[in-house]
Amino acid sequence: MADTNYDVIIIGSGPGGYVTAIRSAQLGFKTAIVEREHLGGICLNWGCIPTKALLRSAEILDHANHAKSFGLTLEGTMKADVKDVVARSRGVSARLNGGVGFLMKKNKIDVIWGEAKLTKPGEVKVGKSSKPVVEPQNPIPKGVKGEGTYTAKHIIVATGARPRSLPGIEPDGKLIWTYFEAMKPAKMPKSLVVMGSGAIGIEFASFYRSMGVDVTVVELMANVMPVEDEEISKFARKALEKRGLKIITEAKVTKVDKAANSITAHVETKDGKVSQITADHLISAVGVQGNIENIGLEALGVKTDRGCVVIDEYGRTNVPGIYAIGDVAGPPMLAHKAEHEGVICIEKIAEVPGVHAMDHRKIPGCTYCNPQVASVGLTEAKAKEQGREIRVGRYMFNANGKAIALGEDNGMIKVIFDKKSGELLGAHMCGAEVTELIQGFVVAMNLETTEEELMHTIFPHPTLSEMMKESVLDAYGRVLNA
């Protein structure tokens, strides 16, 4: 009989779950991971990664459309072949999906295929998966364990989240899409309404706009990407609108009429006026909600709150031996937050010395629309709300040599310091490659530098990163190139 007893069982192999499994194995725990659909979870199969592949195609197309301004002439026209663009994106996911399988094997982590249910503390029953394999994803990996009862001292719930839907505007997979359908269009639509301008909504809006689609974004809040610093949101909005994206803020979709091949969205603005927008599809991107159902949490009395499992700073639920990490354990619902939460959780279980709770203020966020948006820490409004005295520095891309040479001179970087201590409270960016730049400030924050160390750091020339230093200098009235 196969061994079914483990030290640690992780439910869900998304970026939080599989990374936690690897760390668990590194710490010497006998570890298993349960997955019902695809190794790597939404992030790798239907989220972060395949959208980046789509957006890369969009970016190349955008560049080609501006070839002339770089002195290049394109003979004929460059056009997107939707089937191949999607195929490339799916291929990227498939490759990484296989990679996770390899990592599990390499770290001697057992993969158990099916639906997990917590039956009592320390016990997981795995039933038949309810989810079919979606091609061209790799089929169910070889050598996985199947249905049965498994036991472990520590069970970590990492079941992730799924798209939230609004009543009356439930996605049907045909006319009303979620990210699943938006990720693999059979043909390029002519027009789209995107409901919600968070990272998911705005990235699809940006992708489809680059593909020549007429896109209207409807956002409930006053600014697009409402979690971002207001100044950056407004800056990004202008840039997106310049690219032909239509954006309606402080508005909600109250009703969607469906015709045979189109939808008509009723959009009500703050002043009570209702307008109708007809488009081929509506993408519902109004956030995600935790997968807390049907995994036995209720029966065991695991406390949940507003669709998420309630945990302490080390991922522990109210039931000893049951932990939760990642999206299912609450916002921000980001892969890198899930990974770190998982590592902290398992290290605390292993009593690794020096484990500390995650500082939620140091979780960066990246949105890969064109232009990109990236941030970490407090927004200006939040910092003020906390009653802090602050110093704010800004620097614009149009004064940076590298940005001009790249033909990417529309962007800005904003930093916020605590006036008294010089603590870097927040950094906010919009423009080319800022999703790669932000990490500089994340490291600075994590090492607890003040403005002084940043000013004494040598930034290579010519790079976009020089703008980071200039923004710091600007906060202290010492900007050089502006």
Binding site: D312, R316, H356, K420, S421, G422, E448, T450, E452, R478
Partner: protein
């Protein structure tokens, strides 16, 4: 260089202890981990271990000395090849107040002079060193916060990678009141911040140790519980509370309430347009009292008195798992019916946890009513930025003396808690008198 051994803090709250016994004598060889002395606190006797190896060069504080301050130099270790002449106890690592000796500025000026702001570039200061001359690893932010708060890095232990002192350690030291720099450095203007920082209670481990492992269940705190704990602790630790109580006769108010409720217009289904409660009238009376006594309608900031132009009355609503205080804005201007209907809506949405932040943040005062639970009288905790909170008890029939005769009246006791920094006792009394006036002559609330 000689290694200084200082009085250790054996618990976060320990400030001083008795040096009960030396287990080594001058000239003894010790290595790291050897027990060298016994320290007595008010609760226990604990052992002190050597953290370095060397020869005991000098015992500074003799056995049997009581009241030795934490971080005071108690002995000096000599490293290989050093002799006692290397000892200079005045260069100790901490607030070394030698027994019977002079106070010495134990923190050398240079190591505490951490630069602040952009202007500091003139004379780069090396990272702080410990008594061995080794660098103390600390984050730049930790160094600056230590400087701002008058803490001595040498007195702190780091929780960061490889013992690096990070912001968290500074915050913990401030909370526990440990790690104060020597008097010289403590004169820094911000030193007061350390003293006023909230004290930490017993740790989770200390609490749990008092109970059998399976005799309880742990329920993680949700956000609301954490906020309540944080804000109320902050309030009680930073706000000097002052309490004023008064009894109000309710009969006139109850009669008016019946009259008003009977007069309420009814819709098609016979539902009245409003149904006033005593609480609604209490809110209105407090708002009007604040209008009449504007000096009590204030918030405290370190720099200014915030004089509010309107009475925004928060009302504590108890909900499963905690409480929340939605705010009736400009309550002095609102008719009772509006206040009543707003309260009903707030109460309902509060229970569903659906209040928006702008509906429960801010406010200039608050009402906490436990009358419906039969409470006679209590005092509430001021919820900053409010300067006052009114605790309302039950209206109950009580014997009262009227015109020298014993009579029965419906009486409600209320207690006003004030932030004494901005609302003094007499001012609180004046506010309560105005409040009582409205409650006992309720018609005046209608005009």
């Amino acid at each position: 260089m000689p290694i200084n051994i200082t009085m250790p803090a054996l618990s976060p709250t320990m400030e001083e202890g008795n040096l009960a016994k030396w287990l080594v004598k001058e000239g003894d060889q010790v290595s790291a981990g050897d027990v060298i002395a016994e320290i007595e606190t008010d609760k226990a006797t604990m052992e002190v271990e050597a953290v370095d190896e060397g020869t005991v060069g000098k015992i500074v504080v003799p056995a049997g000395t009581a009241g030795v301050k934490v971080n005071e130099l108690i002995a000096v270790l000599l490293e290989d090849g050093e002799d006692a002449s290397a000892i200079d106890t005045s260069g100790g690592s901490a607030p070394a107040e030698k027994s019977g000796g002079d106070k010495v500025p134990a923190v050398p000026e240079s190591s505490s002079a951490i630069e602040v702001g952009a202007k500091a570039a003139t004379d780069p200061v090396p990272a702080p060193k410990n008594a061995d001359g080794d660098r103390i690893f600390s984050s730049p932010l930790a160094r600056r916060l230590a400087k701002l708060n008058g803490l001595d890095l040498k007195a702190l232990s780091g929780s960061g990678p490889h013992g690096r002192i990070v912001k968290r350690d500074i915050e913990e030291a401030l909370a526990a009141g440990t790690g104060k720099a020597a008097p010289a450095a403590a004169e820094a203007p911000k030193a007061a911040a350390a003293a006023s920082a909230p004290a930490a209670g017993p740790s989770a481990d200390q609490v749990l140790k008092l109970f059998d492992k399976d005799s309880y269940e742990l329920v993680p705190h949700d956000g609301m519980r954490k906020t309540i704990a944080k804000r109320l602790t902050e309030s009680k630790q930073t706000i000097p509370h002052f309490y004023v109580s008064v009894d109000c006769e309710l009969d006139a108010l109850l009669a008016l309430r019946t009259q008003l409720n009977d007069a309420a217009a009814k819709d098609k289904e016979g539902k009245p347009a409003y149904k006033l409660s005593v609480n609604d009238m209490t809110i209105k009376a407090l708002a009007l009292a604040l209008r009449d006594v504007p000096n009590a309608n204030v918030s405290w900031t370190d720099e200014n008195m915030v004089m509010h132009k309107h009475a925004d009355v928060g009302v504590a609503v108890s909900i499963p798992g905690g409480l929340i205080t939605p705010i009736i804005r400009r309550a002095e201007e609102k008719p009772l019916s509006v206040i009543s209907n707003e309260m009903k809506d707030y109460g309902k949405r509060a229970k569903e946890r659906k209040l928006k932040p702008e509906e429960y943040q801010g406010g200039t005062t608050a009402v906490s009513n436990m009358g419906m639970m039969g409470v006679k009288n209590f005092s509430a905790v001021v919820n900053p930025p409010h300067a006052t909170i009114l605790a309302v008890g039950a209206g109950e029939k009580r014997p009262v003396v009227k015109n020298g005769e014993l009579a029965v009246a419906t009486v409600m006791s209320v207690t006003l808690s004030t932030d004494h920094r901005c609302v003094d006792g007499a001012l609180g009394a004046e506010l309560l008198a105005a409040f009582k006036g409205y409650i006992e002559n309720p018609m005046s609330m209608l005009v």
